[in-house]
């Protein structure tokens, strides 16, 4: 028995020794790289945001002016998301929202939607999707310009019933071969526009402090 305990202990210590060395090397590498990683993540995020938010529309450090948007059925989000607020000379001018189309052909389609203070959509980008390569993936800007047709749309341009693909009697163009995908995207973009209109007060608030006002307002309207 004693011998067994001793052997077990020795083996455990041996394993522990290697774990400690491994952890130390990992900690060292992490320390070396985490700043760079955070930087490139921020850069990638800003690059994406700049594709939907025209730089002429804001002059603040948009990426640092964010609010937490609570999970919302209208946005298709199941968790709190971060929205970025653009300001021009201190006045709120733009909001970048995360929206999810839950009903893509194969799962969720995550996108970002930028909406101006005037209620115009300035741009939409699909961030992640699992649509069929070659068929439904034209919603991705890397494949096709299709998603740009949302830039400049608003409720002034398309009436309430026109935010549908042409096949369903709406105004949104789509490509043969895949209708479910653009249908889901159009619906989600329209919902996001509704969300922005209904939560104007909190999304385009003057103050630069992170408020949870949006949640109160949404709870109030229900």
């Amino acid at each position: 028995m004693k011998r067994l305990t001793k052997a077990t202990l020795r083996t455990a210590l041996n394993l522990l020794f290697f774990s400690v060395i491994g952890t130390a090397i990992l900690a060292f590498t992490f320390n070396l790289t985490y700043e760079l990683i955070a930087q490139s993540e921020e850069k990638a995020k800003l690059q994406l945001i700049n594709q939907v938010a025209p730089q002429s529309l804001y002059d603040n450090e948009l990426i640092k002016d964010s609010i937490t948007v609570p999970a919302s059925a209208q946005l298709g989000t199941e968790q709190d998301t971060v929205a970025y607020r653009g300001r021009l000379k201190g006045q709120p001018s733009l909001i970048v929202l995360e929206a999810i189309a839950p009903d893509g052909y194969s799962g969720k389609i995550a996108m970002i939607v930028a909406i101006s203070y005037a209620g115009n959509i300035t741009g939409v980008r699909v961030v992640t999707h699992k649509e069929t390569p070659g068929l439904g993936d034209y919603i991705d800007i890397a494949r096709n310009q299709w998603i740009n047709l949302f830039a400049g749309t608003s409720h002034q341009r398309y009436g309430e019933d026109e935010w549908k693909v042409k096949k369903d009697g709406g105004q949104i163009d789509y490509m043969a071969g895949a209708t479910i995908t653009p249908r889901a995207v159009a619906k989600a973009v329209h919902n996001a526009l509704h969300y922005a209109e209904e939560n104007r007060a909190s999304l385009f608030a003057e103050n630069e402090i992170d408020t949870k006002g949006a949640s109160k307002q949404e709870a109030g309207t229900k």
Partner: protein, 229 residues
């Protein structure tokens, strides 16, 4: 370490015991990321780096690790090295890291890495172990690259597209449009294309090996005849 030894190890890894078309280990990334040359080569090189490092790291401690716990220790070291590579990729080649995504951590579970450690690095000195890891990794990379090229040409009609993701803007002009105005062939891009492509590669390798054997026999036979005569 003699030159002949290095040559033997390289020949083993790149051709005779090629992981992709002979040992058929590590098929998970082979099938998943080989839809374009850049993805295939990037993951192949990342795997090669991990295999070289793990060979070099495990060989010197092979006599200190008790036999009973060698597998946990090996896995621990491989996992640590993969995480280091992941951090470095994330920090210095961000866009490539985004493309390879989940497949980098999956190198840990790629059986070829552990297989070479068990079969080679655990029994040999540091230098041969590192060379073996490198050769095996490069063999895999070569198969991945060929498969990626085949699937890219048949699937998208291009070759070397997306290299700017890995190497920056200077590689933007590298794209070769093999078939102009190509409408794409989805089958080649999806997993079945990988299976069939790999099957063709294995067949090709077997054909070449058989032919070489026949030639060797044909050379030997007359020689034997002259002796008996």
């Amino acid at each position: 370490m003699k030159l002949q030894e290095v040559k033997d190890i390289l020949h083993n890894g790149l051709w005779k015991q090629n992981t992709g078309v002979v040992q058929l280990l590590g098929l998970c990334p082979l099938l998943a990321v080989s839809n374009s040359v850049v993805n295939a080569v990037s993951l192949g090189l990342a795997t090669t780096l991990v295999m070289t490092l793990s060979g070099a790291a495990i060989s010197p401690i092979r006599n200190f690790v008790p036999n009973e716990i060698r597998i946990p220790v090996y896995i621990l070291i491989i996992a640590m090295l993969v995480t280091v590579v992941q951090y470095l990729l994330n920090a210095y080649m961000y866009s490539l890291y985004i493309v390879l995504g989940i497949f980098i951590p999956l190198i840990v579970t790629n059986c070829i890495v552990l297989a070479r450690i068990e079969a080679f690095a655990g029994k040999n000195p540091v230098l041969p172990a590192a060379v073996d890891g490198f050769a095996m990794g490069m063999g895999l990379t070569a198969v991945l690259a060929i498969l990626g090229g085949m699937r890219e040409i048949f699937g998208h009609g291009t070759l070397f597209s997306g290299f700017d993701l890995a190497l920056g803007d200077m590689a933007k002009g590298w794209v070769i449009t093999v078939v102009p105005d190509y409408h794409g062939f989805l089958f080649a891009v999806l997993p079945p294309g990988a299976f069939i492509g790999l099957g063709l590669l294995i067949a090709g390798k077997n054909y070449l090996t058989l032919r070489a054997e026949k030639k060797a026999k044909a050379l030997k036979a007359p020689a034997a005849n002259t002796v008996t005569a």
